[in-house]
């Protein structure tokens, strides 16, 4: 098999704060292949956003730092420790991002058109006229009615769903190889959520880009993802295809997540919680980090858990019981 588009190895992003060291991301590995949709799921605070920001060097340093041994390779190029100029050439160009909050992710004092053309002019070197025409086309492509008029409007004149479409238009403007969408639909109401997901899936097909979709929502994962990474307490606890995860979950945490769905594999179920609370990244528990909340906790769980490979397709779970 050819080299994956994005390969993340042992990523550790720690925050050095006054209260101590928050190991928000503590040894995360996964890969994204050309053209696929990879979902990252996990409870709030498990480090999904920090992971996604770390990929492009967007964490605030300080307090954040990528620890030695972390590696992010994109099309063969190492991004950890790459200089700012190389990263900037990738950002918004080959790798782009859509954020959770469409309300605050667009700059309120610039028109929608200005914000889209900015990217086009930067990475594509288009002149003002061409960039504007392209912006109108992009707005049409993401399903905004009357794009020629909307292009001159300001973010506050658009609804949340429309703003997220603008964010997406901005993100796809340079035909990226990888689109990172961090909970792109969480802030939107249900019907709009479905439309935005539909749009992302369609764009992925037409543009042939890979999508890294971060979400709380297992229903969304089941619907649009090819493979899934389940995160817990700054680590990957299970990876596999959507079918693996939903039909044969190997880690008790994954099973817990599925159990909290109204109907397994059904759409629209928002994650409720598993009993117990998420530990703080300042003090991860010793041994298996899920132990305190795990119904199956026993003798083998005091030792730190490694990812156990299950079969050949990158399927793995961080639980010694999965070995059997």
């Amino acid at each position: 098999m050819s080299e994956p588009l994005l390969s993340v190895r042992d990523l550790r992003a720690w925050f050095f704060t006054d209260q101590g060291i928050a190991k928000a991301v503590d040894g995360v590995s996964f890969e994204v292949r050309e053209g696929e949709t990879l979902g990252i799921v996990g409870e709030s605070g498990c480090g999904k956003t920090v992971t996604s920001l770390a990929l492009l060097g967007l964490l605030p340093e300080p307090p954040a730092r990528l620890m030695d041994g972390s590696s992010v390779r994109f099309r063969g190029q190492e991004l950890v420790g790459a200089d700012e100029k190389q990263l900037r050439a990738l950002r918004g160009n080959e790798i782009s991002m859509v954020f959770q909050e469409p309300m605050s992710s667009l700059n309120p004092v610039f028109s929608v058109g200005d914000q889209i053309t900015e990217t086009l002019r930067l990475h594509r070197g288009m002149d003002r006229r061409a960039a504007r025409a392209e912006a109108v086309r992009l707005l049409g492509e993401v399903g905004i009615p009357e794009p020629a008029r909307r292009v001159d409007e300001y973010p506050h004149q658009l609804s949340g769903g429309m703003r997220q479409r603008v964010m997406i238009a901005m993100a796809i403007s340079c035909s990226p190889k990888l689109l990172i969408a961090d909970e792109p639909t969480t802030a939107l109401d249900v019907t709009i959520q479905a439309q935005i997901l539909e749009l992302l899936a369609e764009l992925r097909r037409t543009l042939g880009m890979a999508v890294l979709l971060i979400t709380h929502d297992l229903g969304v994962v089941a619907e649009v993802c090819d493979r899934v990474v389940v995160m817990y307490a700054g680590q990957v606890v299970e990876t596999g295809t959507v079918e693996d995860i939903f039909v044969r979950p190997a880690h008790p945490y994954t099973r817990g997540l599925l159990g909290s769905l109204p109907s397994v594999g059904g759409a629209g179920g928002r994650l409720v919680s598993i009993a117990g609370t998420v530990p703080s990244p300042l003090h991860w528990p010793d041994g298996c980090r899920f132990r305190a909340r795990c119904g199956l906790a026993g003798d083998g769980c005091e030792a730190p858990q490694d990812l156990v490979e299950l079969g050949a397709h990158g399927r793995a779970a961080r639980c010694w019981r999965a070995r059997t």
Binding site: L58, N107, P108, V109, E118, H123
Partner: protein, 328 residues
Amino acid sequence: MTKYLVRRLLGAIPLILGIATIVFFAVNLAPGDPTLYYISPGMTQEVVEQMRVNFGLDEPVHIRYVKWLGAMLTGDFGYSFSHSRPVLDVLADFLPNTLILSACALTVAFLFGIVLGTLQAIRQYSFRDSALSVVLLFFYSMPSFWLALMLILTFSLFARNVWEWPIWFPASGMMSTDYEFLSFGAKVRDRLAHLVLPTTSLACVLTAGIARYMRGSMLEVIRQDYVRTARAKGLSERVVVFKHALRNALLPIITLLGLFIPVLFSGTIFIETIFAWPGMGRTIYEAILTRDYPVVMAGSFFFATMVVVANLLADVLYAWVDPRIRYE
């Protein structure tokens, strides 16, 4: 937007009338009799009485108020006791000089305040941030007249006579005595040189204040989601800060324009007096000493009106820069 403007303009009218009223009574009800200042020993009682009539002080205060207000509305601000000229002529001579000085100080203060505050915010808690904080706090706490004296001492007196620096700045007036004989270029340079010290003295406090607000505003904006979006687009840090963040951080700074104009004007009273700057501040100060009521009233009224206008301007500017208000 037009409706908003008209509403604000109409709202300013009663405000200005109120100001005129307060100014009038504050001056006229103050203890003391202006004529006492102008009589000399040996004047007969009749002459003094005649003087009171000439000054219009023989009538009761409420009649004087109505007359003054009526005259003012027709653009007649009365006759200066000490200058022996119409007040309007006095204002026409001195007000422009004050406006020149104020405009320079304001420009310098906003320019430096915005840049320094931004430089602090983008490296919060760094050495640069802390050092600037200390220096700015110093300038913020020092009275401007003290600063003015120190500047004169350093950049005028010592620089010229003791240290013999190649550059020093004049400490008095708006132009040199030989101004008329200078070439055009030299005239411009002479004028600018005379502006340096008074402008600096006036601007220091304001710069420090604006930088402080700017730092806070920038810190607030820099952690907004849209700044992260701008970085994720691949923009350079310079564009992220000076385009995306700055534009937003400037919004609350615009309101300072209205807030700081009064500080500026009261500053001119000291600074113009110290630097012998022939402006309105110094003229009002002298008018107070000589009990020249018409000049005090007209001067205060103009200053107060300009504060109102500055606030209006700040609001309009805000609305114009912020699309959320512009398209309401």
